[in-house]
């Protein structure tokens, strides 16, 4: 984010583009409510009439999968109404002429059938956004990223902020609100195939020299090209390019699209290691599980979506054989030939982050103690941190200018047809989190919301299929078929249904298409085609659902139970079923 | 159609509370609650005024009432005290503070059998004295001509008068 989360309530306009803070970030939703009460204008563009739409000044009923067409029209409208800050464009950007060449073909009158937005409304919204004082912020999340045109939409959002000079000043700019804790931190620390910590590129020779020196290894040990992306793991295994996979705390068999196919692909691994705190569907397939510690059992630093480092400490000590991630990694590394040892997380933070990432040097543990924080860039010890980026219009490109890039619109990959007439879009819900490895094992939360979860469906689509609220239904696509519950919802647009990707039985990802965008390889989780059908025998459906759920829980429990088998007894049958015991290729050495 | 209601002029009110007394007396009958439906308040600068129900055309109290104890009846918001459950939605909804709820324990009887005591609640709101021969008791009792009944006709009259006044002075229409 180019601004800070607290500052959002002081902006003059918040433009939520396919972003639903109420389910993704209630704390940000709180800021939106406060911004509204402080007099800010709220624009919501979303296919659904989300909670924020109720308090919005303009609600734009965006059609699913039309992002780039919409954004191009929005930009067109800004230019057409003379709302471009020409001075800012001249002094702080490049590429405006080429940008206009693309965007000028997207007059709102021409795109209204694709976007569903009336030209008058597009103009009104563009004016509201462009002229808001003191600043505007465009907020987005997976609504932008999990589409076939991901990076293209991001480019256009950034360009819109630039041409209106709604960036480069306090509480303004672009706010891609990260979906997970600690995805921002993972990116910051270079858990990416193209970056070292601090977004320093792996392809840059000077950078490689610096890291090789710091890590005391010959520079040719460091890869000089961009690595693989985790969303491609299935194909990489299938193509024989990846043979071993160490999976840390992810549950791709729950969260990746076309999950059943991914499971089949991962069976091709020679070695599959999982670090996790609960037995998940993914861990159940692993060759080796290394039990890790949860957030309450270890300390470290999280980065919030607005670049704020925050230190957190352990509440309870680890149990049993569970070890901290950094201890496991150090141990693995040492055994694989590169000795690695740290006394504590502070040593890691100081050595691997602060010393190697100039922008984080001022973020000391002292500064972050208690409820303290450090918002990067924070290059020196006495630097106060940076809530806002690009102040004065200075961007992080080599020439310090923002590059304005526009793209032509492309339709989503799998459009609805006669057989699968509804758009399936995967979303979030507040009551549970992501793959539910944590929240699904929490009694209090499963009491409030449990399997199979819901598919939100418009009243007309439900009525046409004889579906009533809370009915159990089949949802199916070209990939598979699952059972879930119908939530008949008058806020949903006709022709689309929305399911959370978190349910193990009502598993959206058994239906989603695995197609990634060309640049970042993010899956197209917001758009594929499906059909919905009411199950005639509702009582059978209720029992079936429970049977599936209990069978899964039992299977995972049995897998977890195996972990307690004494190593001396490996290979000796226990009271578990034969089918659960995978024969070891070699007998264990005592 | 619009509504008719009693308005008070703070510039004339002397704070004698006669209106409140008259209202209470009017409601001092079996099946009703002997309480004033209007309340005199002090608004600073030595001024006072009674607060009365406006019988709003789109009354929030009637909209909020779950049992239609408050309901629209022509040009007023009427009260059926027997339907009140004392939920106080109307009290919160009214922006003027013109509605109140009172409750008391009553003992129901079935012939000679005394049943368990129950809490009964009553919504206290102006009914505009539609059942009173001389109209609103408060207006009759007011000692300083501060209260009057107004209706659509009055507003129309005033608007017409304002239009007339406006066109008389040419500067305002240029």
């Amino acid at each position: 984010m180019s601004c800070g989360v607290p500052g959002m309530e002081d902006a003059g306009c918040l433009f939520l583009f396919g972003y639903n803070p109420n389910t993704s970030h209630p704390i940000v939703a709180r800021r939106v409510v406060r911004a509204k009460e402080k007099g800010a204008k709220i624009i919501v563009a979303d296919p659904r009439f989300i909670e924020t739409a109720r308090i919005a000044d303009i609600y734009m009923p965006l059609k699913n999968g039309s992002n780039v067409a919409f954004l191009n029209s929005f930009a067109y409208s800004i230019i057409d109404q003379g709302l471009v800050d020409e001075e800012f464009v001249r002094d702080h950007t490049t590429g405006y002429e080429d940008f206009v060449k693309v965007v000028e073909r997207y007059a709102p009158e021409r795109t209204k059938d694709i976007t569903g937005i009336d030209p008058a409304m597009m103009n009104e919204a563009a004016r509201m956004y462009a002229t808001a004082e003191p600043s505007s912020i465009i907020c987005w999340g997976m609504g932008v990223c999990q589409q076939v045109q991901n990076v293209e939409a991001v480019h256009t959002c950034a360009a819109i902020a630039c041409i209106t000079h709604q960036i480069g000043k306090p509480n303004s700019g672009v706010a891609p609100v990260r979906g997970q804790n600690n995805v921002q931190g993972a990116c910051d620390m270079g858990a990416l195939p193209n970056f070292f910590p601090g977004y320093q590129s792996v392809t840059n020779p000077e950078v490689r020299e610096k890291f090789a020196k710091a890590w005391n290894i010959p520079v040719d040990k460091l890869s000089d090209h961009v690595g693989y992306k985790v969303s491609d793991i299935g194909h990489l295994v299938e193509d024989g390019k990846v043979h071993a996979f160490v999976n840390m705390g992810e549950d791709p068999l729950q969260t990746e699209p076309d999950a059943a196919n991914l499971k089949r692909q991962l069976e091709g691994l020679d070695l599959f290691v999982c670090l996790d705190i609960f037995m998940t569907q993914t861990c159940a397939e692993a060759d080796v599980i290394l039990p890790a510690t949860s957030w309450g059992e270890h300390e470290g630093v999280f980065t919030a979506c607005d670049r704020t480092f925050q230190y957190f400490s352990a509440a309870v000590p680890p149990k049993g054989e569970c070890r901290h991630d950094w201890q496991i990694i150090s141990d693995l590394s040492t055994r694989m030939g590169y000795p690695m040892h740290y006394e504590n997380t502070k040593e890691i933070w100081d050595k691997e982050c602060r010393e190697l990432w100039p922008g984080a040097y001022g973020a000391t543990y002292e500064k972050m103690a208690g409820l303290g924080h450090a918002q990067w860039p924070i290059p020196t010890l006495d630097h106060p941190g940076s809530p806002d980026l690009f102040l004065g219009g200075k961007f992080s490109t080599p020439d310090r200018r923002a590059r304005l890039i526009a793209h032509d619109f492309v339709y989503p990959t799998e459009m609805p047809d006669e057989k699968y007439p509804l758009v399936l879009c995967s979303v979030r819900e507040v009551g549970h989190y992501s793959c539910r490895s944590m929240t699904g094992n929490c009694e209090q939360l499963t009491d409030l919301a449990d399997e199979p979860g819901y598919a939100h469906i418009a009243p007309a689509d439900a009525k046409a299929r004889g579906i009533e609220h809370d009915d159990l239904i089949w949802v199916y696509s070209r990939r598979g078929k699952i059972i879930t519950r119908a939530f008949v919802d008058d806020r949903i647009n006709e022709g689309a249904i929305y399911m959370t990707y978190q349910w193990w039985i009502g598993k959206t990802n058994d239906l989603m298409l695995h197609h990634v965008d060309s640049r970042s390889h993010t899956p197209e989780d917001k758009y594929c085609a499906c059909q919905v059908e009411r199950i005639d025998d509702q009582m059978w459906a209720e029992e079936h659902c429970q049977e599936l759920y209990m069978a899964l829980k039992e299977r995972l429990f049995k897998k977890a139970d195996r972990q307690y088998v004494d190593s001396d007894e490996l290979g000796v049958p226990t009271e578990l079923d034969e089918a659960d015991v995978t024969p070891d290729p070699q007998p264990a050495t005592a | 159609m619009g509504s008719k209601f009693v308005i008070a002029d703070p510039r004339l009110c002397v704070g004698c509370h006669s209106c409140m007394a008259a209202c209470l007396v009017k409601h001092f009958v079996p099946g009703d609650v002997p309480m004033a439906r209007l309340n005199v308040v002090s608004i600073g600068n030595g001024m006072t005024t009674p607060i009365v129900c406006h019988h709003c055309e789109d009354a929030p109290c009637a909209a909020a009432c779950p049992t239609t104890a408050l309901y629209h009846d022509g040009d007023r918001v009427a009260v059926d005290i027997s339907r009140c459950i004392g939920c106080r939605s109307c009290v919160i909804a009214c922006p003027f503070g013109a509605v109140e709820i009172v409750s008391r324990q009553s003992t129901a009887r079935l012939r000679d059998v005394k049943l368990n005591p129950v809490e009964e609640s009553y919504v206290i709101k102006c009914d505009r004295c539609v059942d009173r021969e001389n109209g609103p008791a408060c207006i009759e009792a007011c000692t300083s001509h501060a209260l009057r009944l107004v209706s659509d006709a009055d507003f129309r009259q005033t608007v017409a008068a304002k239009h007339a006044k406006t066109v008389e002075s040419p500067q305002s229409v240029l």
Partner: protein, 210 residues
Amino acid sequence: MSRFIAINPNRCVACGTCRAECSEGHRKAGLQSEPRLALYESRDVVASLTCHHCAGAPCVKVCPVNAIQHCKDGCVRVDEHQCIGCKLCAVTCPFGAIHMAGTPVSGVAGMEYHVPTFPASTDPLIRWQIGVITAAVKCDLCAYDHGHPHCVDACITNALRLVEDPDDGDEIERKRVVSGYKSIAMLENFDPREDDPEAARFDDSAEGGK
């Protein structure tokens, strides 16, 4: 005097924290873990709704075993142990604030998982489960914690508030004073007597003045 929890729907972000806090607090106190607030979501309004603790509450009147009582601190409470689950209170409540809930038998006596007797889409007032003793569950203003409602503190946008004593409280007085003050401005340019100074008052009966 009575108290209840009211909401400002414009602040509600449907995060469900109030429900989670309610459920957990009551569970810990050995009561039903069914949340006593219901989250209503529609295009027009999103809000958490709960019991009004009505002064003349119909649920109190209708209970055949006197399990629901007016309490001294202004709350209407259900004694969950006394309740026989007849549902009359849930039927009569005009706000739908009473939820019928019971502890499922799954996990007890060899029953592995919860198999419902009726599909979930059956209306809650008609639905029942074999072996489950249903009780009327409703807001008790957190009686287990000195009547200090947890949901109000938990709400992340301060959408919920505890309304105390509206019958003769400061809130009504404040509203009256403000509207009285405003009425001066109201009357500045409104004086129907201007045209007819003799017509000091108007009659409620039929045409025109006295």
